[in-house]
């Protein structure tokens, strides 16, 4: 274990550098790129096509058993700028997970928080601390930090969905813990409505009285597409604008669903173009429905249903909807906000 040894043509300085290295010190004046005018972001804008994800997921499903590694059959999106790291940005992990008929991914828990967003299909149910949550297209499912979770596909068709985790961030904070569950897997043939929904999902502003010991995340663990869809329509009508965004929140306290991730669904009407803007932190976006383009800095990407793209920190971002576009976004914005590091700006064109 040794630190960098710098060199100088001046003998006295070179001798100092030698001693610094031996003492595990580095001279600031020889370091470059530590404090840059704007963020030096290694992750680049990128889009993964729905078709590719679907085909490769299927092939993995055919070739690899669920217990081959990690107890999950997952393809991680690897940002081309990150030198081969399996992360979509320096803070977030994004992946597709594929489950064959009658397969189950066993229960475990970890400090990195996860969410699942269903771009297509249905039939799998996820248990979060034992509470069974059926998953269908457009649903957002939370498996917050340190909650046990497992996935089961009791049906006859495979299913795939998008996973997003704050894993790189939790790893950078040296705070990853992991634990497999002791007990056996769930095996329910019939999946009832989750207890979380029955307690917390009844309607806006309607909460169970006298609940104490609330968890640090949203007690509502799933947000159903039917409700989100209606909320977007209502908001568009109320605002009379060509686009609207719904934020998913903890109904007990009105905060983000989890301390590290913000989730939103944006609807842009056909023909509309959003303003160009940028902010610090990573956004991972997935097209639920519609087609259009996204301009990320100077690069334009076509968008189709099921496509996933990443907006790295401080990258300008603008959507154009060819048909009505529904885009799910998750980001690390709550972290930047909590630490006083969030910057947003409109970019003039």
């Amino acid at each position: 274990m040794a630190t960098s040894r710098f060199r100088s043509p001046e003998p006295a300085l070179d001798a100092l550098y030698d001693d610094l290295s031996a003492t595990h010190l580095q001279p600031l004046w020889e370091l470059r790129g530590l404090l840059t005018p704007t963020p030096r972001v290694r992750a680049v804008p990128y889009r993964w096509r729905a078709d590719d994800l679907a085909k490769l997921g299927r092939r993995a499903g055919d070739l690899v058993s669920i217990d081959r590694g990690g107890d999950r059959r997952v393809l991680a999106m690897s940002n081309p700028g990150l030198d081969g790291a399996p992360f979509i940005s320096s803070t977030l992990w994004a992946a597709v997970q594929y489950l064959q008929p009658h397969e189950g991914a066993p229960a475990h828990r970890h400090t990195p928080a996860a969410l699942r967003f269903v771009l297509d299909g249905e039939g799998v149910y996820t248990l979060v601390n034992g509470d069974p949550i059926g998953m269908a297209r457009g649903d957002l499912v939370l498996t917050p930090s340190w909650t046990f979770h497992e996935h089961h596909n009791p049906g006859d068709v495979p299913m795939m969905w998008l996973d997003v985790l704050d894993l790189p961030m939790v790893a950078a904070l040296d705070a990853v813990f992991f634990e497999p569950a002791a007990g056996p897997e769930a095996g329910q043939a019939h999946v009832p409505r989750s207890t979380a929904e029955r307690r917390w999902g009844a309607g806006a502003g309607l909460t169970p009285a006298g609940m104490s010991d609330l968890p640090p995340h949203s007690p509502l663990l799933v947000y159903r597409w039917q409700n989100t869809d209606a909320a977007l329509d209502a908001l568009l009508e109320a605002e009379d604008t060509p686009e609207a965004t719904i934020r998913f929140q903890d109904p007990s306290r009105g905060r983000d669903v989890m301390p590290t991730m913000r989730c939103e669904m944006r609807r842009v009407l056909a023909g509309a173009t959003t303003s160009r803007e940028r902010q610090t932190g990573t956004r991972v976006c997935a097209v639920l429905d519609g087609s259009g383009t996204v301009l990320l800095d100077d690069e334009s990407f076509d968008l189709s249903p099921g496509d996933v793209f990443v907006v790295p920190s401080w990258c300008t971002h603008q959507l154009h909807a060819r048909t009505r576009l529904d885009v799910f976004t998750t980001s690390d914005t709550p972290v930047l906000e909590a630490l006083g590091l969030l910057r947003c700006e409109q970019v003039d064109e």
Copy 2:
């Protein structure tokens, strides 16, 4: 203007009392009842019958025009313990308001906050800062502190509802302000869904992104019975208990709907009896549906749909449901909580 003059058979003390009075001072040792072991509550438990309220409301509607006084046709519940003051307790005002067909109660605003709970009927709409809110049985409508509000009955049948205000409390704090609206009355034949509901009412945990300048109260101004009813059923199923209580909350922050009043709806299944308990602060309760009894300290009151009763501070309270009982409650609990004065306890039988 003079303060109390105390008397003493001791001449020196009597002379002191004379001088104290002249100086607007009072001797603590002659005062009684200031610091009592438990609250000395003047308000008494009482129940107003739905029938009485309905009949007297109708008679007032026939005899008194809306503009005769206060721009509202309102019958205030006067607690028998308060020596003729028009308040249901030392902190809350409760009343029924009656509107004839084609009548309107003009817009004004005041610092006391109000809420409307509909025990029967439908057809009136209330505008809150211009946002029209149709009212029907079981709905809770907020007209928070300093919001302009007006009521209109465009239909052919009269309508009556329950008003609750924090007026005595705001008056005791010397903070009552009032202002009539400048403009003309609204006259909408068709009442659309309120903007508040379209923005904030879509579903649990679904909120408009990027809303700033939130008001100090819930931005959702109405809670519909259809949703409350479903929420109660779902909660009863989740908890598997014979009773459940839904709290109405500000969906943007998860707080009480207004800083001074908590609102809840409780459902007790037929045959069930709730635990006996008491707490500081006043509760005003109204029976939406079902029949049973309420035990307030040692007095039992029969309950029928439309009945209103008051639970004074520190009075024990226990419900028994003959048929399934739905009881709306509003209280000053957020005030006692904010000031560190809330005490709750179960009372052993």
Copy 3:
């Protein structure tokens, strides 16, 4: 127990009024003065002179034993507008308390919160939950809601100080509880520095690490004049203005010292006049040092050291300092703030 019976020359209406009265209802249209354009404040501006307080306190000390009533020898300031109620306003109690040499006022606790401000003298110590706090001129001592407290004068000279409580407000909320202490009185000859000061009083921003179970009030129970005096000088120098105000805060959370009362000390340099302003809620003020005048609405009062005056809700307020003026103020402002009822405005002259 009966409510008001209204009268009408119209027989049908009079009959309705009869039935309303029997049903404990009142017609709003016959009520006056409930919703006024600005607060209808019964308390009036008033000032109690230091000399009067001192003389009458001494006389009470000579004539009345400490155990004669209420276990305290206290003269309550009775606002001339409140029809003989022993309160300085509708929300606050203010009084002087007088303790003879070698006397002790035994321990008790109550939900109304109290503070002590020493206008002159020294030597008494107050125990708060057993923690002994020596009292001297300019010190602010807290005995928060439901803390046991007792006062002892081990010395050879009598001492008097100002008490302010939120008693009328807590009584209006029907939340007064009282309990005498079980144990015997304290009898310390030597009063050490309080534990509260040793833990929390060391300096700005220096707090004990890892303290849990913080009380709902400031854990620092005394604010010493030496520090307040230096803070005022430093603030005047930093701002380069003719007046400055220090707010006493809970050092653990930066909130007001107690949930119901704000405490401040204002210094106005000789010759300066403050801006004219008014706000909702009551302010009780005491002159620690200096002379000048206070203009309360249209009435001017001379001020000398030891004088106490009350600024009722929405009463305009302006100080003029003949010599450098130090004025202690306590108010119910945190309550109005928490309930969304605080209004402040500058008044043009």
Copy 4:
């Protein structure tokens, strides 16, 4: 830019891996070490000796001009486990900064937050947004995120101090911004007491009334050793324990001094040994006074005044004081707390 290409002896799987790589995807089941039972921490426990830092600082001062690079003459502590990165852990930067007589380090600002702790010497003053702060032994000086700061040494002796920044964390969040100041350097011969201290530093719980627009960090920018020292003595006396810890807090809100860093000073009396404990997140510690040892996991390090050591995440930590030991600690604990990732535990021996 390409992602990792995995290999398999099974041709179908190998073909899948080829296509995954081309599509910037990675198979989870080939990845190792992502989710570990406990944190996989690369940083190792380490201690830098005061003597080494002093000697190498002086040599850098003699050989390198201040404007040679980065406008600061700084030696960064490079954790031996981090493969040559100039960071003391994955989240924190720690360094010594050396300023020659009559030198100045020009003003700039950056989003990474910094603090300075003075282990020895005095005479330099730091301007924070123009407010001059003299620095002396034991003082803690804050230069929070995005505040302009500059350092000046008007005296005749060099001075060195400890810098700690959250730079690696802010870089990992892709949120580094930097800006040099436009204006010329300060050149004050006489350094008055800082405005921050005059406003906020007067005493525990004494704050300027009516301050609005508080910054996201402590408005008090310096904590003087004289006060900290007295606070430690008072706390030890109050608790009657062999060790005590003072936390530096924002006096306006009682929070940590900055959103990303907690600062504490611990005093351990001669002969005492602290409990063995570990927590997530990095602690950087500096010995202000005294001698003893620190046990970090299984490795013991001697401690002398001026020594700096790092406690990596989840590393057990135990101090033994040979003479009375004063240890300053800064950590990223507020971040772990805000994100729900803080774990602390006592370790049995």
